[in-house]
């Protein structure tokens, strides 16, 4: 191979890559980008669906049924507490369901790149719904009232979601049992902590952690009372300003195939 030959190939394709990179950064290629994603997302869905079926094969159906029942019961508990609180405030003329099903957009997971598929916990998900379906960046993504993550980016036909356990995500939360408030911070690898909880507040193992709610004026953000997970351990040191707790989601993110985007709260 002649050196001059490969240098010219290198320069041409590097220049092309950099031009595309620059144009993409400033948003000039958004229509093309959306079109490309629209064409490729069905193939991505096919691959992800096939792999999900392979990894699901042979899993214990009784354990799966119990996990599903656990999710339903937690959702009921949260709904019930919400109803009790509303009744106390003499607002029982409205039947509250959180979140309202009319504001949900159903989406299939078409990609969840992880280190070792089926074993590692993903940090992001790719969904087959985008701006054309009403999905926007910043919206919350849930599954059976459990918080899954936040839409990071949306193209016309697909979108990417940052999971709650992603290290780049943090939001205000509270304990269902004691109403202690704190900040949930993703730690990566499926781990989360509830930090900045006052030492005087009471936290206990198996407490349910809920979102406190930070919806903005456009209706995007995390609505209140979505289940984040359960407290698995507490770290409380009298010399510290705050106490913190490890939180585990009730959802196995690596096995998700369907989620819901809260379009408007």
């Amino acid at each position: 191979m002649q050196k001059r030959n490969f240098v010219s190939y290198f320069l041409i394709f590097l220049a092309l890559s950099l031009i595309i990179f620059g144009a993409s950064k400033i948003g000039l290629l958004k229509p093309l980008d959306s079109l490309g994603k629209g064409i490729l997302s069905p193939f991505q869905a096919l691959t992800y669906g096939a792999f999900a079926k392979i990894t699901d094969f042979g899993s214990n159906s009784q354990v799966k049924a119990l996990q599903a029942q656990n999710l339903k019961l937690t959702k009921k508990l949260v709904d019930q507490n919400k109803l009790i609180a509303d009744n106390k405030a003499l607002r029982d003329q409205f039947q509250i369901q959180n979140p309202k099903s009319t504001s949900l957009i159903e989406a299939d997971v078409i990609g969840a790149p992880v280190f070792i598929p089926g074993i590692s916990v993903p940090e992001t998900l790719i969904l087959n719904r985008g701006e054309n379906d009403g999905v926007k960046a910043g919206q919350a993504v849930i599954y059976e009232a459990n918080l899954i993550g936040k839409v990071a980016e949306a193209s016309a036909f697909s979108s990417s979601v940052i999971l709650v356990s992603n290290a780049s995500l943090s939001f205000t939360a509270k304990s269902l049992e004691t109403q202690s408030q704190g900040v949930v911070k993703g730690q990566g690898g499926g781990e989360m902590i509830l930090d900045n909880v006052l030492l005087t507040d009471s936290l206990q193992k198996q407490d349910t952690v809920l979102t406190k709610g930070d919806v903005n004026a456009e209706g995007s953000g995390f609505p209140p009372d979505l289940v984040v997970g359960k407290i698995v351990s507490i770290s409380k040191n009298p010399s510290d300003l705050f106490q913190k707790a490890d939180v585990k989601s009730l959802i196995d993110f690596s096995k998700l195939t369907k989620v819901f985007v809260i379009a408007n709260y």
Binding site: L14, S24, P113, A152, G189
Partner: protein, 137 residues
């Protein structure tokens, strides 16, 4: 030969697009370059980098630029040293995977991912070399 290259890259793209963060496309490109040393691999590096950015929600062109630069560095190195060796594949895939994963922000288990990537790179090298001998002699 181009059909074999295309097929291997498509398989790598499918794996990387929906299932894993291990940089399969990069590893396949590296192995192919070391074995074939053809200029047209730059075209494949550019095109597959773009498609990979599209499906993984990265800024378009970032993977293409990385692939093109890395292939160029490998070709520069081959003018002075022998590159079709297991040691070269192992260390270049180790270095390349580390840089690529860092650039794309896959910082979770970075060291483990990099080591696994270089082992996969080595296995891919042996597989592609075997395929090349079997199909094309």
């Amino acid at each position: 030969m181009k059909l074999l290259v295309f097929t291997l890259l498509i398989i790598a793209l499918i794996l990387e697009a929906s299932l894993t963060t291990i940089p399969f496309v990069f590893l396949v490109l590296l192995c192919l370059l070391v074995l074939l040393r053809e200029n047209w691999l730059f075209v494949f590096a550019f095109a597959f980098g773009l498609v990979l950015d599209l499906v993984s929600f990265k800024t378009l062109g970032i993977s293409s630029a990385f692939f093109v630069v890395f292939l160029f560095l490998v070709l520069l190195y081959q003018s002075k040293f022998e590159i079709a060796t297991n040691a070269f594949i192992f260390f270049s895939s180790l270095l390349g995977s580390f840089a690529y994963l860092m650039i794309l922000g896959y910082n979770n288990s970075l060291i483990l991912q990099t080591i696994l990537s270089s082992i996969i790179g080595l296995l891919l090298f042996k597989l592609v070399r075997g395929l090349k001998v079997k199909i094309y002699g």
